[in-house]
């Protein structure tokens, strides 16, 4: 398919890999964080790590929306789902995210009517088809997904659909990046910017990174050549002494973002004063809730939710993985007690999570190296 095949060309990939070598300063170790879970997945799926020299290290960031959901929010969702007459809808990966005692999949097995949807618009369709039932959508995701939820709620309001509501867990990417940059135990040389978030918000929200913290950012596409070229652009900025936000993904990302999407988000959402992120703790103004105009669609107002903060399991080191402090395989339970089939931590649940991506695509290569 046009715009896909040409970005998977192996010869061009090798050429880019060679160009990367020419930009390196001898003896320097480079740490580059890919912010988005989609990039983490592509890096492992296409073996991009193997095309990089040893002194260029990729650090996996907090941009997997499932991975940053704290257990207490999962418990809230399960409590809503267990209400009689409720049809509870969510994206596929959410089903297996552990709460304090159960997952949504467990609750479904115990009798709750929980259905997987691909789009919030599918949840709204279910509400239209079941006017005698309460239909709840468990909304997660960064600014890529938030417009879909906002559009769905705007349609629900316009159509007067009163049996539809939403548990809003949408988060925004800039506050956790700022928190990471303030973290004393993390040294980074640059960022691979989240291409699809930028499709919505544009490049401007990331300008604080070079301005305030002196680190380059390159907004990147998700095909293997996109990622390799973005790494090259970051290294080139460093070797030329430049520091700015560059856009590698110009075929999709306009500098100003998608103004229609931003408009519907501003109508439907407002910032929460603070929100808990798994592994990162509470971060101010880092998440969205429904605005006053849409308060009637807020499932947290319509149903009783526990709202209890639950500490992560002690054995799980998702927090350190999310901050890029340790690699997935350095976690004590990686691949033994914690696997995609029986995940302890959220990073192992979603294939965008660094642990699952490494388990699915990189584990065997490491075992071979060890022999």
């Amino acid at each position: 398919m046009k715009f896909v095949d040409e970005f998977r060309n192996a010869q061009l990939g090798q050429a880019l890999s060679g160009e990367i070598l020419t930009e390196l300063e001898p003896g320097r170790h480079y740490k580059v964080m890919e912010v988005c879970g989609g990039h983490t997945h592509s890096i492992y799926k296409y073996g991009i790590d193997d095309l990089l020299p040893e002194n260029v290290e990729l650090v996996h960031g907090p941009g997997c929306p499932v991975c940053v959901i704290p257990m207490g929010r999962v418990d809230d969702g399960i409590a809503v789902a267990r209400n009689e007459g409720v049809i509870f809808t969510c994206f596929g990966d959410m089903l297996r995210v552990p709460g304090s005692e159960n997952t949504l999949l467990d609750a479904k097995a115990q009798g709750a009517d929980i259905r997987m949807v691909y789009s919030p618009l599918d949840a709204l369709r279910i509400a239209r088809e079941n006017p005698d039932r309460e239909v709840v959508f468990f909304a997660i995701g960064f600014e890529t997904t938030a417009p879909s939820t906002a559009l769905t709620l705007r349609r629900a309001k316009a159509e007067g659909i009163s049996n539809f509501s939403c548990v809003c867990n949408h988060v925004t990417i800039v506050p956790p990046l700022r928190a990471l940059l303030e973290s004393p135990d993390l040294r980074l040389d640059g960022f691979i910017g989240p291409g699809h978030v930028c499709t919505v918000v544009g490049a401007r929200p990331f300008e604080f990174i070079p301005l305030d913290y002196g680190r380059p950012v390159v907004i990147s596409g998700f095909e293997p050549l996109d990622i390799l070229q973005s790494i090259l652009m970051i290294l080139r900025q460093l070797s030329n002494g430049r520091c700015e936000v560059e856009n590698q993904y110009t075929r999709v990302v306009p500098h100003e973002g998608n103004l229609r999407a931003l408009e519907v988000m501003a109508e439907v959402f407002e910032l929460r004063p603070h929100f808990e992120w798994r592994g990162l703790g509470f971060i101010s103004q880092s998440a969205l809730r429904l605005s006053d105009a849409y308060r009637d669609f807020d499932a947290e107002e319509r149903f009783q939710v526990p709202g209890v903060r639950v500490a992560d399991p002690k054995a799980c080191q998702c927090g350190e993985v999310l901050k890029g402090v340790i690699k997935p395989w350095e976690c004590k339970v990686f691949g033994t007690a914690c696997t995609p089939e029986h995940a302890i931590g959220t990073c192992m649940v979603s294939p965008e999570g660094a642990c699952a991506a490494y388990y699915n695509f990189g584990r065997y290569a490491r075992e071979k190296e060890a022999v």
Partner: protein, 67 residues
């Protein structure tokens, strides 16, 4: 697409904040029928990108075209 999202070697494209490149087959007022690279057809909401035309390429996330 939903099924593919739950296979162990696949991934949930929505949870991954991933946009899927699609080609428009039929354009209507607020929706369009689009086809992805695997030939699968989808009903897509297009009101966030304005009007679309046949053969236009769009980036779709969670059933909504965002670019």
């Amino acid at each position: 697409m939903t099924g593919r999202a739950c296979e162990p070697d696949g991934h949930c494209i929505t949870c991954g904040d991933e946009g899927i490149l699609m080609r428009v087959l039929e354009a209507h007022h607020e929706t369009a029928v689009c086809v992805d690279e695997e030939g699968e057809r989808h009903q897509v909401a297009v009101e966030l990108i304005g009007s679309v035309s046949r053969d236009q390429r769009v980036l779709v996330h969670a059933g909504v075209a965002i670019a």
